[in-house]
Subunit: 430 residues, 2 copies
């Protein structure tokens, strides 16, 4: 094999420019660590003229990224275009079919097409690597696929979206409402102009689907992820959480048991003593429970040019070192699909905020609905206002099944006892 | 290559028995993950009759572990004997010379002979793997060697000894003194009958020497590690640390800069907001600073049968998957020795506890010695007793060079101003 690994990069946004900078700045250590020179020979992006802070002279430019797959001078393709279809899917497919390894940071692509692409990579006998797709600089894919290979993993969960964690942390520290913090985050460049992928939990769900596949040896099943975002979390909820000894975090949680695999993304109240409670700002954290290793926790920057480039180039180093392991830890044909456990089967405690008019009988109505569905109230907080004014009733429940709680809340909504849809946040005693 | 990896294990203590149990309990997932059957074929230990909770029938027994190296039915040797010389060194050397890979959990052996053994492994073209030697179940060796291969690492530090962390955590929660907590830990089996390796910091120093070698690409240099343990930490110090907003942890800290590499192990006062402050009990934690990835933190169980077996078998899985990377991340011939920065060059703040007789002039004497060596006092706490009685003067200093502070403390000791040797704990604003 040659002592040069010739790289083609598609997509020169933040991560692409960071990857070029890393390969330039740390060329010497990369050479000593993998015994090969990692050289970018070709790139493809939308705008050739844009200043990216890195020199693109001497690099072959392609307007169509698919040309990278066919260029005989390109040994490996780095896909940083993004998106679960279109040019990214076309490029990755063409590259694997051409018998070349692929490195990608594209969580949507892997979450939706990971199993099929892994089969294609195995058929061609090349790597499909996506360390950068989950939790940025945290090497959780390699950890699950290699370091914990001796374990049956029963659970993997974490804070997987830095934008949401930044917003929730800032809401807590400033007391501001979601919309204001989001607008500020957008102004600062911490959140996208269209924030939906982040704040509606979709990005977290993409990452969770990948994590649970690698952890449990199951085909990636993004469609099975229950997904709720943070738009409905209010400053009031955060304040009440704090009074109750909790913090609110958007978690992705995947568990496996006799009945199947549960995957869910939603705001959680976690005890302040939880390892997740003190992960602040744009940091990510992932916790893994394995039968022999026990509990391990990884924390680090979940996004950004440097951390993501670090993960992309780590995958390139593995390829240069001729290391090949199935993308999801076992051959794609050995991935075992399991039943998906619906969110209705969740058994746990809940925080409820019900906005009511301060009238006699309202609390009795609410309590009756909960009782009728076997939901037992642990605590109630209603701060007095003038009769007839709008007031929040804050409750926590004992552990119960979500199906019953959902029915009770539907009944409460229909009864007219509340003036807004009930707010419910799951309490996770992690 | 065969589809069976035949394993010989030397040393059947806690970790050896755990490794046998793991290979038995998780045989199915191991087979699906590495496409090979991992089978123990031979063992060696001191006492054949001892009940270890695992079936040793059908396994070849050797009284002399070196026989494992020569047995043609053994493909890979797992060394769990321990010790930096004697049978462990003889076995590992003989196995590598015989052209067979070695997996070891032996931190002392790697800390003292790692570079030479790595050269031997590379000459034979086989793996020398020691994930289990550092931080138990935390996959920090693979992370540094592979996941962070694209980074220049400037610092790695952490809590690397669960026994010390358990003792310090218990001293803090109970207010008890070191000797009492140690005795209790020994009774519970959390500390060895001879606790010196743990409480004097030697075990941490072994692990730190290995970490800094992998992180910085330098030959292992255990002799260069400044090492101080926790025997002199008192309940008083822990209480004062708490009042000052700190917790006391035994850390191993390795840094690299223009002048060379600094490696030191000693009790530290860390701010309660530090990621190390809330790592309690027998947990370990490691933090890595890389130029592109930024700061990542790994936490997990630092010892015990299950976590250590998980790391041992992860190394076996890598070998079964035919993965080979130089033991320290670069070829041993490419490791670059750097000057060792002595502890005297440390620049930082200090906590001091000086036990004095409550007599006039004592504080003036102490302050004069500190002033004469450019040590500036940040805070002083002296709680009154009856004149002539023994009292502790608690001080913190501004940042200063350790050389000057050491001279000042030597002068204070000689002057007769103190009734005990001064206690000094370094403040690390990590």
């Amino acid at each position: 094999m040659s002592d040069i690994l010739r790289i083609g990069i598609a997509g020169l946004g933040t991560v692409g420019a960071g990857t070029l900078a890393l390969l330039r700045d740390n060329a010497d250590i990369l050479r000593s660590r993998c015994g090969k020179t990692l050289t970018v020979v070709a790139v493809s992006a939308r705008d050739r003229a844009k200043d990216r802070g890195v020199d693109l002279n001497n690099l072959k430019w392609y307007d169509d990224p698919r040309a990278l797959a066919e260029d005989p001078n390109v040994d490996v393709v780095v896909e940083l275009i993004g998106g679960d279809s279109g040019p990214a899917l076309a490029l990755v497919t063409a590259t694997l079919v051409a018998g070349k390894p692929v490195v990608t940071a594209n969580k949507a692509l892997i979450a939706l097409h990971g199993t099929a692409l892994a089969a294609l990579a195995e058929k061609s006998g090349v790597a499909l690597s996506f360390e950068a797709a989950v939790a940025g600089g945290i090497p959780i894919i390699k950890a699950l696929r290699e370091s914990f290979a001796a374990n049956r993993t029963s659970r993997v969960y974490g804070i997987l979206n830095g934008t949401c964690n930044y917003i929730l942390t800032t809401m807590e520290s400033t007391g501001a409402e979601f919309d204001d913090v989001l607008a500020e985050a957008q102004a600062l460049g911490y959140a996208e102009a269209d924030p939906s992928f982040d704040v509606d939990g979709i990005d977290t769900a993409h990452k969770l689907a990948i994590l649970s596949s690698v952890a449990f040896g199951a085909p990636v099943d993004f469609a099975a992820v229950y997904t709720a975002g943070i738009r409905n979390v209010t400053a009031t909820d955060i304040r009440h959480a704090s009074e109750l000894g909790f913090r609110i975090k958007l978690l992705g949680i995947a568990t496996i048991g006799e009945e199947g695999i549960a995957q869910r993304v939603h705001p959680c109240m976690v005890p302040v003593s939880s390892p997740m409670a003190h992960v602040d700002g744009a940091f990510n954290a992932v916790l893994v429970d394995g039968d022999f290793v026990g509990r391990t926790i990884f924390e680090g920057p979940g996004a950004g040019a440097g951390p993501t480039a670090s993960a992309v180039v780590a995958d390139l180093v593995d390829i240069a070192r001729e290391w090949r392991v199935p993308p999801f830890g076992v051959a794609s044909s050995a991935l075992v699909a399991r039943p998906s456990i619906p969110i209705e089967d969740r058994y746990g405690a809940y925080y409820l905020r019900l906005n009511v008019l301060d009238q006699s009988g309202v609390l009795a109505d609410i309590a009756a609905h909960l009782r009728d569905h076997d939901v037992s109230i642990e605590s109630v907080l209603q701060r007095g206002r003038d009769p007839g004014e709008r007031v929040s009733v804050i409750m926590t429940t004992h552990e119960t099944y979500e199906a019953g709680l959902a029915q009770a809340l539907a009944g409460i909504s229909e009864s007219g006892a509340v003036v807004d849809p009930p707010c419910m946040i799951r309490i996770e005693n992690l």
